[in-house]
């Protein structure tokens, strides 16, 4: 099947700090996204997982054209997203929406829920008058909010309700692909479950395609069909969700999985604790970017000098580790 979204060798560089009171030449370039490629089929949910600074949100913002890319390609529905401008870009944006992490920061505090939901309908000239009101009502119902909340301001809503408004706003323009950037990480666990279930229901009813950005592998497991793990601006492992959780091949994926606290006091886990901090993208290590923290027993000079390529280990299962074939 042709993918709905195809990202190829995506790169994003930022200039490093400048000398001479910020007027001199940048000292070094920061590769926030080094080279990222993936594709999402229609109706599929791909999760992009990693810790802070790995570049996952930067990828999302480039895809939505919120920030420019340094290099690479983004094809949406067969069209080159990065080359579009003006009216064509606006038309395509209708089909590509985002739900942000912080529902408070991403809603206008001076607009009621009704006004927030009307805005995209007006901008894209989707509905007016009575049809517009009807549209707002059905959107609220769809995300599980009562119509009495239509005239509420964001500060009158709870975190979970705000996130539902954020989801309704994204759905207002009938998108094909929704980028969910940490949509539940600011929510309490009982509300997080509500919103995850809602996202799953909406996907089923509307046949949505999700790019789901998250740091929590346990959350991702409940929504993703496929998972790509990022470290320092690169994808280090990618696999169908069941495979990734059952047979992780990259030592970083293994460490991430074992670091998730399990709510079971009897769980006897062999925790792989990583030493040290993730390095800064401004100062990426040579060779395999993970090698300074890698607990793999076979780690050798090759890891320190040669960047491992993301290679296919089994159909649809890719990992970037020199020792990905060896089982531990």
């Amino acid at each position: 099947m042709t993918p709905l979204l195809a990202v190829g060798n995506l790169r994003k560089d930022y200039p490093g700090p400048r000398r001479w009171l910020g007027l001199g030449r940048p000292q070094h370039v920061v590769h926030a996204v080094a080279s990222v490629s993936f594709a999402i089929a229609p109706g599929e949910t791909l999760a992009l997982v990693g810790e802070s600074g790995c570049g996952k949100s930067t990828v999302a913002r480039i895809i939505l054209r919120l920030i420019p890319a340094t290099g690479g390609s983004v094809e949406f529905d067969g069209r080159d997203m990065l080359a579009l401008r003006g009216r064509e870009l606006r038309a395509l944006r209708r089909r590509l929406q985002i739900v942000f992490q912080d529902p408070y920061g991403s809603l206008n505090p001076r607009m009621t829920v009704r006004q927030t939901l009307r805005e995209p309908l007006d901008i894209h000239r989707i509905a007016t008058g009575g049809a517009r009101d009807e549209r707002v009502r059905s959107l609220l119902a769809e995300v599980g909010l009562g119509s009495e909340l239509a005239d509420a301001y964001p500060h009158e809503l709870s975190g979970g309700q705000r996130q539902r408004v954020g989801i309704a706003r994204a759905l207002a323009v009938e998108p094909a692909l929704v980028v969910c950037d940490e949509p539940v990480s600011a929510l309490d666990v009982s509300v997080q479950a509500q919103v995850l279930n809602l996202l799953a229901d909406l996907r089923a009813h509307r046949r949505l395609t999700y790019l789901f950005i998250a740091h929590d592998l346990a959350v991702v497991r409940h929504i993703a069909d496929r998972v790509a793990v990022m470290y320092l601006g690169r994808i280090v492992e990618e696999a169908p969700a069941p495979t990734l959780y059952a047979q992780p091949r990259h030592p970083y994926t293994r460490a991430l999985l074992s670091a998730v606290p399990v709510p079971d006091p009897a769980a006897q886990r062999t925790r792989v604790t990583l030493q040290g901090d993730p390095p800064s993208p401004a100062n990426a290590p040579s060779g395999c970017p993970f090698h300074p923290r890698c607990p793999h027993p076979a780690k050798n000079d090759r890891c320190r000098t040669e960047l491992p390529v993301l290679r296919e280990l089994a159909p649809a299962h890719r990992a970037a580790c020199h020792f990905a074939d060896a089982t531990l």
Partner: protein
């Protein structure tokens, strides 16, 4: 049974505002014991009062608008910390009872080196001279696993990563070898691999220093791995308390059971999550009767009118729920929860 190190009885911290919706009963009658050497987990979601409760113990709640009600007791070494003279309280705070906060960047002073900040307690409480306090700071940095401690001691907080800053916070708290460490969401701001490092560190230090730890967290996974006993808070109250294995095996309160069912987990087959319907009520208007009844699948008339006390499920395990007295109702099919 041995004497508890810290005895909290009927602690009530209210926030009063002249305008606005009225008095917020953030902590509303909390009682528990903390014994020497144990880790007591306090779990709950935002707005349940767990952080205000932990700040009230050392009187760190700003007054006004906060107000700890007379009749509240926090007993340490035979004295009520809530009525102690400020001077006497200062001799205990940071010395015998220390605290680690969630946000390491905002809780550290940006214009002082980490060494100076760690040394401060040692100078104030143990009257160490500057060179001795500095040596002590280096020793503490080594203890919390910061490499190259002799150089790091002269760095400023902004030069350190988030995980390193949290290690510095822990070093600061432990300089005087406190008997009690209150850790309020110590890993919430950290990435999961760094969180694992910090939890391992806390575990090791607790053993080495024989401290009691009051671990406040929203994460049931962290509690399961760290705590000996657990207290679950909801709407300003303790709704359940039990030894950790018992709490996870037989949650007595429907809220505890609901929380457990809503956690996405890696160790179970993937199923639809069971969310708790509705949301946490506002602290200015706790529901009448049982405060959880509007969200509870079992609620019946009694729950809407009468507030349950903490009832003993079995020795050492209590739940604030009428189901303890009427267990047959647990078998009744719960009403379908709204989406």
């Amino acid at each position: 049974m041995t004497e508890p190190l810290l005895r909290v009885r009927d602690l009530r911290t209210y926030f009063v505002s002249a305008r606005g919706p009225g008095t917020a009963r953030a902590v509303d009658g909390v009682s528990f014991d903390l014994f020497g050497g144990e880790t007591l987990g306090i779990v709950g979601e935002s707005g349940c009062g767990k952080s205000v409760m932990s700040q009230s113990i050392l009187r760190l709640v700003p007054e006004p608008p906060g107000h700890i009600l007379p009749g509240s007791l926090v007993e340490y070494a035979g004295r009520n910390l809530l009525t102690l003279a400020p001077r006497e309280l200062r001799a205990i705070r940071g010395n015998r009872i220390a605290m680690v906060f969630q946000e390491p960047l905002t809780s550290l002073n940006p214009v002082l080196t980490v060494g100076d900040q760690i040394a401060e307690s040692a100078i104030v409480h143990q009257r160490l001279a500057r060179p001795a306090a500095r040596a002590r700071a280096i020793e503490m940095l080594q203890l919390v696993g910061i490499p190259d401690a002799a150089a790091r001691v002269d760095q400023y907080p902004h030069e350190l990563s988030g995980g390193m800053r949290q290690r510095v916070m822990i070093a600061m708290a432990l300089v005087c070898h406190p008997q009690v460490l209150i850790a309020d969401e110590p890993t919430t701001a950290l990435d999961v691999t760094i969180q694992a490092q910090i939890l391992e560190l806390l575990d090791r230090l607790q053993g080495e220093l024989a401290m009691a730890v009051l671990l406040i967290t929203h994460d049931l996974g962290i509690v399961a791995g760290q705590a000996d006993r657990v207290i679950v808070m909801y709407a300003g109250q303790v709704v359940e308390s039990a030894a950790t294995p018992a709490l996870f095996a037989h949650p007595g309160h429907p809220y505890t059971a609901g929380l457990l069912a809503s956690v996405p987990r890696l160790d179970r087959p993937r199923t639809r999550l069971e969310a708790i319907p509705g949301q946490v009520p506002a602290a200015t208007a706790w529901p009448a009767g049982c405060r959880f009844h509007p969200r509870c699948p079992y609620a019946w008339d009694r729950c809407r009118t009468a507030e349950p006390p903490l009832l003993e499920v079995r020795p050492g395990h209590a739940a604030r729920c009428w189901l303890v007295e009427e267990p047959a109702r647990r078998e009744a099919p719960p009403r379908a929860a709204p989406r």
